[in-house]
Symmetry: C3
Subunit: 310 residues, 3 copies
């Protein structure tokens, strides 16, 4: 028997988070990829702390998820968060990487898919992030589709996000979510948000008006017992906080043209386009990104509070 | 704790259906989309009642599934069925819509995916419908693939249907079912039926000759315990009851040409093509549709009877 | 109640395998498709026995899986293995075919998907094969993708293989595995092997150096409890045992040109290409195939031994 080793690999939940889950108090799961890979240093650590504080201010317990030295942790403490924000060689971990990384003792940040899956396992039903992964623009040929979509098909967690980045194929992403049985509701809108933009140009079938509405859907899912899929709450930036649409469209066109001109394909596409957005908007895309995640953290906390309410 | 609210959202099963499930008597699940969206009024209600009577005549209990005022119901009673057949604004609900619609108190009709998933949850192992959703003709670019296929990959229900409509990509649909691990057996044939037509032109690997054969497959699946996928029993119309193949092929070509000419894409494609079939066949496509669902209800009832036999 | 019939369809496990599983001794599942369909007679039976002996020599119990007369068997005995190696009309069974074949009393050999699924059900966590199925080269249009990939997304079994055959779309196959959440680790390499070739030209994110490394990943997966996906251990042939790369590339080009010239599509593509490889390499592709499966059996046994170690 290898009982000890299995135990060695069990998920470690912080005392505060474990206590909140046990007593039914509101908790919001948070991903660590934005900390390690999504934002430049040294702002990344500061933003990670602001995200957690936003959750606390709204009455919920933050549970940032990541891996330190092979240990999968729910509720990273300050030194652990600092380590993932500053160490070199922090891996980006999707669900399929978790066990491999743990066995090799790696440091790692969890993607949307991995954070949602670990949160569900730890009994945390609400999760805030910036944007989802999706179907890539050339996916008809490359088959490059994010594991985020597939993971949400069997992970009963509510994900508050601002849609998917426009560098992806938004229409195909929405179709894939429909095929996979993952519901998408707009928060105060029936248009799917476009991450940097308030409106991606795509319609949604359903919208909700309050955190209580979202909590009610979560209760109905549990009550029916028919589906294990997640729930995507698509929370757009207000029009006056979005990236200027004209600037966005110009920068996106330039970026896509740059890909063709420099013959960039595969895994280099996303980093190239994000760096291009950062440079060509003189950092405004990054500021928008931070606003998105803070707003989503606040809404996720309100949903967790509504869902925990007796 | 929100125990009361979860109970509020539990599935309501009619007394007759609940009693039949409890005592192991044969039950056939039926979808409500054909009632609310598939057939024109006022025939739709009459046909719905004929379908139920067909199931009863074959010795099984019909369990039509739908949502009234946010309540998910297995075994709609007469007033509920009448409501879904006559009310305005009845939503079309796939699996992912069930909890959202319930939380908003909507009226809704369940698709193949949703009916199968709810039937499985309610302990009903057999389901009759007209045709499955499938992969759309432009799906290589649009990614438009019905959630029916994905749902059947993890829903252990036997679905009796007449294949998929020829307005879809039949070959791609069969490939997707293979990839997803959903078995397809022809009833008395090794050719996949073409809904309006007895033969879609595609081969099947397996055929069955009797309801007992189907029941035996269901027992083997349960005995093995290896797969949670559904089982598609593809039941073709007899050649002399199908839509005239020459008429079918001409109407389909005209319809596809109309799509191109009028630049119709996305969610408008299916309604356009079905309306075109209705008009261009002077209602014969609709009469065929009714024959299909009545024949499938009779076969599904025979399968349910064979499966329930001690 | 149909308790007796369900029992009739239960999986039959050989006494030796059942005893090994019960006492936690190392077991390696083996597929039977290579015996019935993958290798020419009469060598196929001899090779099947060599594979089993290789597993025994490394200290594990072989459990070849297949179906005889409708009975699904884990641990085929000598007469059963001989039957599948020599009988006519042995079906090739993926997961979705198992119940249908059992109900019709068929003889059948199990694919990678079916072998993995049955092994998991029988409590055998390690499986050796030659190569996986994958995404076909024309899949963007044909939607032809092996059920092996989908099955591994929800089957917690470690599969030792030498990658996928180059007649498939290797890049698309790797993308699909990522989307489906199935981890792939290279054994002693960070390049995905190309079956006949040591290197397919595609990179991997992770590599392992020993059977103990693999066992550690399996323990981490069990410890986390986050994913039910399998684990692919991609074990390349040493460079001096592979098919000569120049020969390989020439034969592959000729084969693909032959497909176009002779207008071969659909299910005829793979048999055509494999027969072409056999003929055009004067049997060397077949000898390489045998070396691959023997090496993978040895590695899988070492992994099973490491995983069973207290
Ligand atoms: Mn990707
Ligand atoms: Mn669709
Ligand atoms: Mn195929």
């Amino acid at each position: 028997t290898y009982g000890d080793e299995v135990d060695e690999y069990s998920i470690k939940t912080s005392t505060e988070v474990a206590e909140a889950v046990r007593t039914g108090r509101p908790v919001v799961a948070l991903e660590s990829t934005i900390v390690s890979h999504g934002l430049p240093r040294p702002d990344n650590l500061k933003v990670a702390q602001e995200i957690e504080q936003t959750v606390r201010d709204a009455g919920a317990v933050p549970a940032t998820i990541g891996m330190v030295g092979g240990q999968l942790i729910v509720g990273l403490n300050e030194p652990q968060l600092t380590h993932l924000a500053t160490a070199d060689g922090v891996a980006k971990l999707s669900v399929r990487d978790l066990a491999v990384a743990a066995a090799s003792g790696a440091d790692g940040a969890t993607t949307v898919a991995a954070t949602a899956a670990v949160a569900a396992r730890a009994g945390i039903p609400v999760f805030a992030t910036g944007g989802l992964g999706g179907v890539h623009r050339a996916a008809a040929e490359s088959f490059d589709e994010s594991a985020d979509l597939t993971a949400l098909a069997s992970t009963p967690v509510t994900v508050v996000c601002a849609g998917v980045k426009s560098i992806l194929d938004v229409g195909a992403t929405l179709e894939r979510l429909e095929t996979l049985g993952v519901p998408v509701v707009g928060y105060g809108t029936r248009r799917f948000p476009g991450f940097y933009l308030s409106d991606s140009g795509y319609d949604l079938d359903w919208s909700v008006g309050s955190p209580e509405d979202v909590a009610r859907i979560m209760r109905a899912r549990a009550g029916h017992g028919v589906s294990d899929a997640g729930l995507i709450v698509a929370n757009p930036l207000p029009a006056d906080e979005q990236l200027d649409p004209q600037l966005h469209d110009r920068v996106l066109s330039e970026g896509l043209a740059g890909l063709a001109r420099e013959q960039i394909t595969g895994k280099s596409v996303t980093p190239y386009l994000l760096a291009h957005f950062h440079a060509a908007t003189e950092g405004r895309s990054l500021a928008v990104n931070v606003r998105i995640i803070l707003r989503n953290a606040a809404l996720a906390a309100a949903v967790a509070v509504a869902y925990a309410r007796p």
